[in-house]
């Protein structure tokens, strides 16, 4: 940092060490078993209006200085551009540790394998079950950050999770069920206890039965109807149609090359109606157990809770120091995150949560719904580059008639346009039904970066939704 400061540049450096462990079983056999770790430093500089970033695994002083020199050379080689401000930020200093509980990397492999194999076996051996899978994953990230502004912090987070999946095949029909969710199960910022407490064996028979039953279930009808979504699918709905849409870098056009732009204009705060008055969304980097929880982001900004939507009106964006300054925000919202040492931070989600309502449990909500469809567990997802027109599918659905679930439906899909969809939100279940759901592989950036994020959601109801697209 002294070298960089002497050169008149803003610079920051991150040392990151990442460890991961993944175990999977498949039809009673061990499918995957690997432990990865890497470490290195990434140096980010700004010279005039151009950023440069260089990463190296050589963590010696010589390696760091070489990376700094490379980053400066890259910044200087680009066409000149006007320098932009960085929103001011108190200097980050201190330590932080998160992911309470037993270190998952210290738990013996055999214990994890036995648990997974037991869950795999509990799915049963119906000949129509072609694929039984159980999986476990743990991730640890250590970051030391310093900047020419005097920041210096040391932060460690641990995430743990797992799940179960059953795939049934009958001729050309293939159906699957997952627990707790379909995106590698469920992962939280927590110790091994989070995985250990999962009722995988207990849920296995239901998964197998439903996967098999789906083979002969009625197809989801093509109609416009009332849609009730479970929390897991709603988490993905929030992710795709809210979280990404309010990333300020895409709002400002910086991500048009890959991830896209946004239908939300940069001057929309306080003016744009995003959804019904029941829609309240918060980006909260302090949510206990959230994959997007931390003390400081990868730009040295303190994480905090940021209102995004209140009573249906847009109130904030996910921003970094540069993007915040561009629209006159007083501070960054602490959303700059990097996928390892060899990637530079970009605006990412933290824990973008749909706040709970007062509609009770999902059973209460269904009981209060005269006619509609209840969809559960995400299966497919696609949305346009403005985060406006989407089409999603779930693993399973049930018809709702007279406040009761009736027949099971296979291949459920639904589509919509973001503000119209959220305008149809007319009930959100209560706090006891609210849960943080983890997404392990949110992709963005060039070169590509994968990020773990969470979304808190309780089941909710939407009116006038097009279902049964495919």
């Amino acid at each position: 940092m002294e070298s960089a400061a002497a050169g008149g540049a803003y610079a920051d450096v991150r040392f990151m060490r990442q460890r991961s462990e993944f175990i999977g079983t498949r039809n009673g056999e061990v499918d995957e078993l690997h432990r990865d770790e890497d470490e290195g430093i990434g140096v980010r500089v700004r010279v005039g209006g151009a950023w440069g970033f260089a990463a190296t695994r050589d963590t010696s002083k010589r390696g760091a200085e070489a990376a700094l020199a490379r980053a400066l050379a890259i910044a200087r080689a680009q066409p000149r551009a006007q320098a932009t401000e960085l929103a001011p930020e108190p200097v980050a200093r201190g330590e932080h540790r998160a992911g309470e509980g037993t270190d998952p990397f210290e738990v013996p492999l055999e214990r994890k394998l036995e648990r997974l194999l037991a869950a795999d076996a509990a799915l049963g051996n119906d000949r129509r079950l072609n694929l039984r899978q159980a999986h476990y994953g743990a991730y640890a990230r250590d970051t030391i950050f310093a900047s020419t502004e005097g920041a210096l912090y040391d932060q460690r987070v641990v995430d743990t999770g797992g799940g179960l999946a059953a795939t049934a095949v009958d001729g050309d029909k293939v159906q699957a069920r997952s627990f707790p969710g379909s995106h590698r199960g469920d992962t939280m910022q927590a110790g091994y206890e989070h995985f250990d407490a999962m009722p995988l064996v207990g849920q296995a028979p239901r998964l197998a039965e439903e996967a098999i039953a789906l083979l002969s279930a009625a197809a989801c009808p093509s109609t416009t109807t009332t849609l009730v979504l479970d929390g897991e699918q709603l988490a993905l709905q929030v992710h795709e149609s809210v979280g990404h849409a309010v990333e300020l870098d895409r709002v400002l056009g910086s991500e048009a090359s890959y991830a896209g732009i946004s239908w939300v204009p940069p001057d929309a705060i306080g003016k744009l109606r995003y959804g019904s008055e029941l829609m309240n969304v918060t980006a909260d980097a302090t949510s206990p157990g959230g994959l997007g929880s931390y003390r400081w982001d990868d730009e040295g900004v303190e994480g905090r809770a940021v209102p995004i939507v209140r009573e249906g009106v847009l109130r904030g964006f996910l921003a970094g120091r540069e993007s915040a300054a561009l629209i006159g925000l007083e501070r960054s919202t602490g959303c700059m995150r990097a996928d390892g040492f060899a990637r530079q931070p970009i605006v990412r989600m933290t824990n973008v949560n749909l706040e709970p309502g007062d509609a009770g449990s999902v059973e209460d909500l269904i009981a209060a719904t005269d006619h509609g469809i209840y969809m559960e567990t995400n299966k497919s997802w696609s949305i346009d580059q403005r985060r406006l027109h989407f089409q999603f599918g779930t693993e399973i659905a049930w018809q709702i008639e007279g406040g009761r679930r009736t027949r099971m439906l296979r291949n459920p899909t639904y589509a919509g346009v973001t503000p119209q969809f959220w305008a149809g939100l007319d009930a959100v279940c209560s706090r006891p039904a609210w849960k943080l759901w983890g997404i392990l592989n949110c992709g963005k950036g060039e070169p590509g970066q994968s990020m773990r994020v969470s979304h808190g959601a309780a089941p909710a109801r939407f009116r006038n939704v097009q279902v049964g697209i495919a």
Binding site: G24, R26, G28, E29, V30, L33, H34, R35, E37, D38, E39, G40, G49, A50, W51, F53, A54, A55, T56, R57, D58, A67, I74, A77, Q78, P79, P108, L109, E110, L113, L117, N130, T167, V169, D172, V174, G253, S254, E255, A256, S257, Y258, A342, Q344, S380, S382, I383, D384, L388, H389, Q391, T413, A415, E446, P447, G448, Q449, S450, I469, A470
Partner: protein, 457 residues
Amino acid sequence: MSALALAERALSCVRAGDGALATVAAERSLLLRFARSRPTQATAVDDATMSITVLWDGHVGSAATNREDEESLTACARAAEAAAESAARTRGSGPYPGFPSAAPVKPHDGFDAATAELDPAVGGRALASAFDVGAAHGVEAHGVWSVGDVETALATTTGTAVVDRVSDAFMKTTCIASDGRSGWANRTSVRVGDLDPTAVAEAAATRATGAFAKRRDLVKLEPGDYRVVLAPAAIAEMLDWLALGAFNGLAHAEGRGALVGRIGTRVAAASINLSDSPRYPRTLPRAFDAEGVAKAPLPLIQDGVAINVAHDTRSAALIDGATSTGHALSAGGSSWGAMPTNMVVVGGGASDETELCAPIERGVYVTRLWYTNAIRPNETLITGVTRDGTFLIEDGEIAAPLEDLRLTDSVLRVLERTEALTGDHVLWSEGEFYGRRFARGTVAPAVRSTLRFSGGA
């Protein structure tokens, strides 16, 4: 130390088990991003991953590190041994048949020294060219310029000791006009000298302004089946889903693949000839797969008939008489399966996309697709949206820009209804580069077919 020497040193750290495989993947790369005709982010990477996979009574366990000192490699080997031994102790004998035997690999022309210099000045000039073109057309330029140099070395206790060094260069430009319409173009090659930043930007700018369309008014199309001309990028993205859902040997062996029961039968129009060709002149060549098995051409669809699926050692072991076709994505076999990564579609008789449009009374010209995703992989049913240059074809000509559309259709159905293909075919790559850089792409012509659009986008 050379990559192969490092791989052999990592291998020598293994002290237990029934066999081992060590891989070194060393990446040097540079990527410059730009948005609104100004540079935004630039990323230089210099990193390597050392992976060790140990075989123990039919089970494999793996560990990886990016540190190459003796202590780190030894710890990596111990972790891989512990993983494999744990699986064997818990489960008993496993199904993995063992690492492939050593076999020679063929050289290729996939490395260019000039590209491997990763010169930021070359990239800076490329960005400046894109900005100049944007200014000339009154549009903003967005995109990336990237170059990479990846050396992969692999050594096994079965005698394999191979090295593959490849380079890649990639440029993508999206131009956005003041009315919000956009156009896109990209180019990828082994050699940075093959990139023409000005030409890429011109193509993107022309699509954004719609200069080649007869009129400028934006048209909205109702959902339905339409005859389409799919530019190489669009059809190539669709073919990626065939790699996952149809040509995937593990899915096939487990009864989930789209070609189950259909090998040897007609699955596409007779004009479709598709293979995995790792040394095709226009592809990004590869010498061996993640288990050290030599890459070789593999016909997948010939004259519309499904011929093969791709296998690694694990998926091949599930089918009597099958052997690895050199498509392993990770040592021991990936949980995702074995997939082709150098697909080539043979061109047809049409001279260009204009000729493909000629017989279409009312249809759609698609330059690229976005956010495609599988709805039902075993049916190759996907959804996605058009993006950055979608046009109405009327009376055989490109008539007007279209509002983007959502497609929901089966990739095999699109290939079944293929009417014609251009003679020329180009290499398309996503250029996304998640994780350790692995540049790959599909060589495809433009295609005329029919596509189901399920709504707007």
